[in-house]
């Protein structure tokens, strides 16, 4: 059956999600000569990895790995990136094509933006900075974060007062409040789902006091405190700006817990907590860091050595299950826990407590398809219909999954998974087995 695509955009592959898996898959396909459209819902590509401090177990700088890859993706002639955009209504068109609706949301700033941040300086509005996980404020006219790509400002229209200062000071004339949502239809031969994961919302656990106690952080908030572009001038307590002396980590928050609907291990929490503990001991040499764990899962290459390195540096590991957390008047937090080895209930006081939150599925992929749904597995991730033989294959021919959209995994595994997905997509487009 023949189709006329002359009046609609034409690409070979649609990659949904601009995190590390999405950009890896896009690059692999682009270097093979395929025309790739990469769609990211956020204002920048780079996903969660671009916000991390270092990676485990090598302690390489995460941004130093991500940023060149992000730039390579943005510059590649075979890749067209749409940020702050979404895909809807995917439908199969005949045997070998898909149509989809691309929705481009207005950022109210054009590509003429030079990233000078004058608009940000002049903007009078301050709201919580989601890229610093609420630890500090940002303006309504803002560059999302310093290494954002594209480095183009955006106007948070919901919090804008329409004072017009941004437009007044923009020498490039890039502010455009007339922008509106744009919709277009695209046709592709294959699709890669790289929609990533969500982090467990610790506020669900009222007995830990998350969202109530200011000195109770999530691991992502601590991650931001450890990067060079951190929200504070050092690692500090959000409640009173004190340099913490006694820091605790609570592992398996929202993971391995049937009652929360997430019985599986998130695979990264043990290692990122040990990584952060080591970085904290570098940033705050006098601090005591304690990790409360059920068991340490150091299964990857160099992971056990990394764990032992943490022990050697003086990180205190306590095999204990936290029952609840309460707050003292001075902001210190009391952890009540069962010491698993002795079976005794104990208490310990800490200046700052970090909840090592687990990985959950990002259910966004469920809304992508108009008629035939993309099937999910028992844990809500994209179902891998042939997990052992063809792990990228999904329930729809020509649609492949990359990275954590298929389940919890670390960064190297996400990149491997993206490699597999892009290879399978390439074979599929060449007419091979799907």
């Amino acid at each position: 059956m023949a189709y006329n695509y002359s009046n609609i955009n034409d690409y070979d592959v649609l990659v949904i999600g601009g995190g590390i898996a999405g950009i890896e898959a896009a690059l692999n396909l682009a270097y093979q000569g395929y025309k790739v459209i990469l769609v990211e819902k956020d204002l920048s590509i780079g996903g969660k990895m671009i916000h991390l401090s270092k990676v485990f177990p090598t302690l390489d700088c995460a941004a130093c790995i991500t940023t060149p890859k992000v730039s390579e993706t943005a510059r590649h002639p075979n890749i067209k990136i749409y940020t702050y955009s979404e895909i809807k209504d995917i439908e199969k068109l005949g045997e070998r094509y898909f149509t989809a609706t691309l929705v481009q949301k207005p950022r109210y700033v054009t590509d003429a933006c030079t990233g000078c941040q004058l608009c940000e300086e002049k903007c009078p509005v301050v709201v919580e900075d989601e890229y610093q996980w609420g630890l500090v404020g940002r303006k309504a006219a803002y560059i999302p974060f310093s290494i954002a790509n594209p480095r183009i400002a955006a106007i948070d229209i919901e919090n804008c007062t329409f004072c017009g200062l941004c437009e007044k000071v923009c020498a490039a004339g890039a502010i455009d409040f007339t922008q509106e949502e744009k919709r277009s239809t695209i046709v592709v031969k294959s699709i890669i789902i790289a929609t990533g994961f969500n982090l467990f919302q610790s506020e669900r656990l009222s007995y830990y006091g998350a969202g109530k106690f200011k000195n109770l952080l999530t691991s992502m908030q601590m991650e931001r405190q450890l990067v060079p572009t951190r929200p504070y001038n050092n690692v500090l307590r959000p409640k009173d700006g004190k340099v913490p002396d006694r820091i605790a980590y609570v592992l398996c928050v929202g993971s391995r817990d049937k009652s929360l609907g997430n019985p599986i291990c998130s695979q990264v929490c043990c290692m990122y907590s040990i990584k952060q503990a080591q970085l904290l001991m570098g940033a705050l040499p006098m601090a005591d860091v304690t990790i409360y764990y059920i068991d340490i899962r150091a299964f990857g290459k160099g992971f056990d050595e990394f764990y032992k390195q943490g022990v050697g540096m003086g990180v205190n590991f306590v095999k204990g299950k936290i029952a609840n957390i309460s707050e003292k008047e001075n902001g210190d937090l009391i952890l009540r826990y069962e010491d698993i080895d002795s079976g005794v209930l104990k208490e310990a006081t800490h200046d700052l407590v970090v909840l090592s939150v687990g990985i959950l599925t990002n259910p966004d992929f469920e809304k992508l398809f108009k008629t035939t749904p993309l099937l999910k597995d028992d844990y809500g991730y994209v179902r891998q219909v042939s997990e052992l033989l063809s792990p990228s294959k999904t329930s729809i021919d020509g649609v492949f999954v990359a990275g954590t959209a298929s389940g919890p995994m670390d960064i190297p595994d996400s990149i491997l998974s993206a490699g597999a997905a892009s290879t399978e997509a390439s074979v599929y487009m060449k007419g091979g087995a799907s």
Binding site: E121, P124, V125, V126, V127, L135, V136, G137, R138, K139, I157, E158, N159, C160, T161, F162, C163, G164, E167, G173, I175, D176, F177, T178, K214, P231, Y232, N233, N234, L236, R237, P238, K239, D240, G241, K242, V243, M286, G331
Partner: protein, 88 residues
């Protein structure tokens, strides 16, 4: 390009919540900056002087630090709290 903000003003209204947020931030910002005119202070000192919760001071002070209106001074003798002062 002309003033496109005038066009959007006709289509959208600013919510009371947004107006309140700006008012609150500007009030706290003014108080913190005034408080630091007398010299460098720690967050608990600013909090006590302004009778504001310390977490409110931390959030707003760190926002001012981000936007270069505040500078970081030395840490106190107990190595617990940093001093902050006005950016020269």
């Amino acid at each position: 390009m002309g003033k496109t903000v005038d066009i959007i003003k006709e289509k959208r209204v600013v919510s009371q919540e947004v107006k309140d947020k700006i008012k609150s931030f500007n009030k706290i910002k003014k108080e913190i900056l005034k408080c630091l005119e007398a010299g460098q202070k720690t967050i608990p000192q600013i909090s006590a002087e302004l009778n504001l919760p310390a977490e409110t001071v931390t959030y707003n002070l760190m926002t001012l630090l981000k936007y270069n209106q505040i500078a970081v001074g030395e840490i106190d003798d107990m190595d617990e709290y940093y001093y902050y002062n006005l950016k020269q």
